[in-house]
Amino acid sequence: MPDDDPKRQDHGENPAGETSGVSRRDFLKISGISAAAVPVIGTKVVEAAGTPVKVYGPGKTPVTLRVNGQKHTLTLEPRVTLLDALRDGLDITGAKRVCDRGECGACTVLFNGKTVYACSVLAIEAQGHEITTVESFMKDDQLAAIQQAFVDNDGSQCGFCTPGFIVAAKAFLDSHPDPRPEQIQRGLAGNLCRCGTYHGIRGAVAQVLQSRAQKGA
């Protein structure tokens, strides 16, 4: 993305980065309060259910994200999701917007190493956390094992679900050295495909596990 994009101004410091952002529960608790808050840029702290929580917006506020090891600062409304911040703000477009409500998994990214649906995380919530997207998996033109296995087993057709599936499959395989079949079924149940590539994906997962078993043997 070109440097003159107004959304990509560098604000130098991270106004919200000292502590992590708000959790989903906190966000739900304060959503009624923030609607009545005075529209100012930046954050303020209010009491909600007896605890101090940060209130963002309404109006645009500086948001700092750490994506694939790099720090980026954007100016966003608090309602912008992590997915839209990545795609429209940073031009990191591997994660796709499909259902936009946590049903299909096409926007799967890693949040401190764990899979999340980026459409269901607010960008302000992601501050102070390590976000990892599919773009980081290929190192020096070398595909990760699961990526190569997708190629070998034709795990993509149109490919729109593929990045989400790759992130989900890699995270699952990284955290399960020797998974049982029912664990695999559960681990990959959060992503949907329309072309019907599950057969190839099943083959890809099997290929990674087989090569792992051979190396271990």
Binding site: M1, P2, D4, D5, K7, E77, R79, V80, D84, R87, D88, D91, T93, G94, A95, K96, R97, V98, C99, D100, R101, E103, C104, T133, V134, E135, F137, M138, L143, Q147, Q148, F150, V151, D152, D154, G155, S156, Q157, C158, G159, F160, C161, T162, P163, I166, Q185, L188, A189, N191, L192, C193, R194, C195, G196, T197, Y198, H199, G200, I201, R202
Partner: protein, 790 residues
């Protein structure tokens, strides 16, 4: 003249093998750029205000508040006051703003007043006497009559009596001729009286098509030894493309439009865009269209669509800045794709030995406001004595779009279901009943005779099959079902340029698109194999109107279009290179071959040049040749039409909960000469998986009272998931009898049978027919209850 024919197995290195998709690495690494991913400086975000009513007159539109909002750059009225919205979600106004949230706020600030009108979204069985009698034929009616093989005499008499609603054009006649219409029918169309289309209000929602009779159905039924009756059908489903429909338009200057669009037909967009933009004057030649990757179409993405036209209008108003409208998921499911429904009451007449002698069907279904076409009944089996009546329902569910193999999956559910019920009534193994009647399947008979035993073997049919309802253990009922299908698929028109540069690099440029079917891979394989080069030696450029035009990817016509044009270009370029190189090898051009990145004398490999050395002989100027399909001046044909396939399913049903689980599916498929076995097999795997989705889960559920879709999301519009996928087996028919047929596409055929096969397997398992797919637990339990009460 050089030999353009497809190389046999001994004379090819890549064609017919399992080649990995050439664009897989860019897809798995997240680097593939889709239309939805395109971003440019100052991009504006568009949103559409949609009708909340299934049918309503637009009384007034007030955009004044929205227009004054900071960040709003343009507002475009799509349907003016006085117009009637015909379905919930119909486009009324579009707005563009600096970011998506502002555009959403602006859309919310637009006030549209409606006068709701009575609507109908049901596609239930037409009440007796409700349907309007047959009227003049529209172009679609003519299409249906040809596809349904209406007998000539009846067709001609009908045209004479009722006339047509269109002015006959030579192009249409040519197309109908291609679809099999006789000269007598074409003459009758040409001389049929013209009638105006009947006006909007007042007419019935039910439109009868001409009843069609062949042979003597009354005699067939009165003499039948067995008559089987049943009710079958398939509801409206949606395409649910993961990349929603949409485009991004910008005007680099006042006369030129640049469009990124998610489409199945790049080359066809400029003319449609220019037409849609009227009265704005722009020549189609000034519309530049680009698409790198696209996230699924399945038949629903051929048009720029109203929202795509709106992006160009908004951009114009915003000083040419790029405007993006990609549909939100709910809009995608509500307005951007619906497969017509089809239901039928069927009677089949047969002899005791299983020979089918008669067919009678009363069918109905909807394709939205236009009514929609009749499914080709009876499907595949040309039963000698038939009577068919069809009623199209015009309603407000939104417009239908082509869905993989239009009307065929529905026709298969109806026909194969009726055949299966007949087999059960005769206490026959369906495999035997199908085999007994293969004489009725016309030109593909031999294909089915070869495929059925292969499929049965792969399924373990003979060991596993039990008569209906006789394989129940505890709460688990198991069953097998089968279906057969056919499709045309002749290659579309395709042009390309192939260039060999003096440094040995090779370009292929073609205005086609890869919609996930492997078109890039197909073209690359054909070019590389013909030139004796590895895949990575070919630089392929597609997805842009700067390249020679190639047909839309629909109807399984792409492989049969792009492969021949590439082959002809590559053979001619190779020939031109041989002519330049021959003197330095002391040989005649016709003695040379291009193999393993060398150009050498066939039979004398001592006289050989590396590909690079050979190309250096070109001097300073590259060779560019143009390839075409069809091209009668460069025979042979290289593509063909008409494939046959078999689908089988093994299911288990929990008779307590009604939940159906597919254990195994088999697809045996013919598609002529195969370019890439791997992506061909993937098409079949994917089609079976999609089939599981529409057989078990998918339905566009409409609320009759409000007229809105109740499940426009991916939680309640359920696609098949990773855990729904059984053991899948694919067998492609290759070798003698298939290879010499030429290249035929594969997008449609394998998706036709799964629904019918699964439906028949469930009937076999539980001993009762579940009339309509999807085979959801409620319907399964109702069928079981009805059986228990019977």
């Amino acid at each position: 003249m050089p030999d353009y024919s497809w190389p046999d197995a001994e004379h090819r290195k890549l064609i017919g093998t399992r080649v990995s998709r050439v664009d897989s690495p860019v897809k798995v690494s997240g680097r593939a750029k889709y239309t939805y991913d395109y971003h440019t400086t100052g991009l504006l975000f568009g949103k559409v205000v949609r009708s909340p009513h299934a049918k309503a007159k637009i009384l007034s539109i007030d955009t004044s508040v929205a227009e004054k909002m900071p960040g709003v750059k343009a507002v475009q009225i799509i349907q003016k006051p006085g117009a009637t919205a015909q379905w919930a979600g119909d486009e009324i106004v579009a707005v563009a703003a600096v970011d998506e949230s502002t555009a959403e706020d602006a859309a919310r600030a637009i006030v549209v007043k409606y006068q709701p009108l009575p609507h109908m979204v049901s596609d239930g069985e037409p009440p007796a006497g409700a349907a309007e009698e047959a009227g003049p034929m529209s172009g679609d009616d003519v299409d249906d009559a040809i596809n349904n093989q209406m007998p000539d005499a009846q067709f001609i008499a009908y045209l004479k009596e009722h006339g047509v609603t269109f002015h006959v054009e030579e192009d249409d006649l040519k197309e109908w001729k291609g679809e099999g219409a006789s000269q007598a029918v074409l003459d009758a169309i040409r001389s049929a009286p013209y009638h105006e289309v009947k006006g909007g209000g007042g007419h019935s929602a039910y439109q009868k098509a001409a009843a069609q009779t062949q042979g003597d159905p009354d005699k067939a039924f009165s003499e039948a030894e067995v008559v089987s009756e049943g009710l079958y059908g398939s509801p409206v489903i949606t395409h649910c493309c993961l990349e929603s429909h949409g485009s991004i338009s910008e005007w680099p200057d006042k006369d030129h439009l640049f469009v990124h669009i998610s489409t199945q037909g790049v080359s066809g967009i400029p003319a449609q865009m220019a037409e849609g933009l009227k009265p704005l004057e722009i020549q189609a030649s000034n519309v530049h269209v680009h698409q790198d990757h696209m996230g699924g179409g399945f038949g629903s993405k051929f048009s720029p669509d109203r929202w795509g036209i709106a992006t160009a209008q908004l951009s114009k108003k915003a000083g040419g800045k790029a405007v993006r409208i990609m549909l939100e998921r709910d809009a995608e499911l509500k307005v951007a794709g619906a497969r017509p429904s089809a239901f039928a009451r069927v009677k089949v007449a047969a002899k005791k030995d299983g020979t089918v002698t008669g067919w009678q069907s009363q069918s109905w279904g909807t394709g939205g406001p236009g009514g929609g076409g009749a499914p080709p009944l009876p499907y595949v089996f040309a039963i000698p004595n038939q009577r068919k009546e069809h009623t199209a329902i015009r309603n407000n569910i939104g417009p239908a779009r082509a869905w993989r193999a239009p009307n065929h999956p529905q026709a298969a559910v109806i026909t194969m279901g009726a055949m299966d019920d007949l087999a059960a009534k005769l206490n026959m193994d369906p495999l035997d009943l199908w085999t007994k009647n293969l004489g009725l399947t016309g030109p593909r008979e031999r294909t089915y005779r070869e495929e059925l035993p292969i499929a049965a073997e792969l399924m373990g049919w003979k060991d596993k099959w039990r008569p209906r309802g006789q394989n129940i253990s505890g709460n688990t009922a198991r069953g097998l079902g089968l279906s057969i299908h056919t499709w045309g698929g002749r290659g579309h028109a395709s042009d390309c340029d192939l260039t060999i540069h003096p440094d040995g690099s090779v370009d292929v440029k073609m205005g086609t698109q890869d919609i996930g079917t492997g078109t890039r891979t197909t073209i690359t394989i054909v070019a590389a194999d013909t030139l004796g080069l590895p895949l990575n030696a070919i630089n392929l450029y597609i997805g842009d109107t700067l390249y020679p035009p190639s047909g839309a990817s629909g109807g399984s016509t792409t492989p049969g279009g792009v492969s021949p044009s590439t082959r002809r270009a590559a053979v001619d370029a190779r020939q031109a290179l041989f002519e330049k190189v021959a003197p330095s090898l002391n040989a005649k051009p016709e003695e040379l071959e291009a193999v393993d990145s060398t150009v050498r004398v066939a039979g004398d490999h001592s006289r050989s040049l590396s590909w690079k050395q050979a190309c250096a002989k070109l001097g300073a100027v590259a060779i560019t040749v143009h390839g075409k399909n069809p091209d009668r001046s460069r025979p042979p044909d290289l593509t063909n039409s008409g494939v046959g396939g078999v689908g089988m399913a093994d299911v288990e049903v929990d008779v307590e909960t009604g939940v159906v689980k597919v254990n195994k599916m088999v697809a045996v498929q013919d598609c002529g000469y195969i370019i890439d076995l791997k992506t061909a097999e993937s098409s079949c795997y994917g089609a079976m998986i999609m089939g599981i989705g529409y057989a078990l889960f998918e339905e566009k559920v409409m609320d009759l009272a409000s007229g809105i879709m109740l499940n426009p999301d991916m939680e309640f519009y359920r696609l098949a998931g990773y855990n729904d996928i059984p053991d899948l087996v694919v067998h492609m028919m290759t070798g003698k009898g298939y290879d010499e047929r030429g290249v035929i596409g594969l997008g449609e055929p394998p998706v036709i049978s799964p629904g019918a096969a699964i439906s028949n397997a469930v009937a076999n398992a539980i001993g009762a027919r579940v009339s309509f797919i999807p085979l959801t637990p409620d319907k399964v339990l109702a069928a079981l209850q009805q059986k228990a009460g019977a």
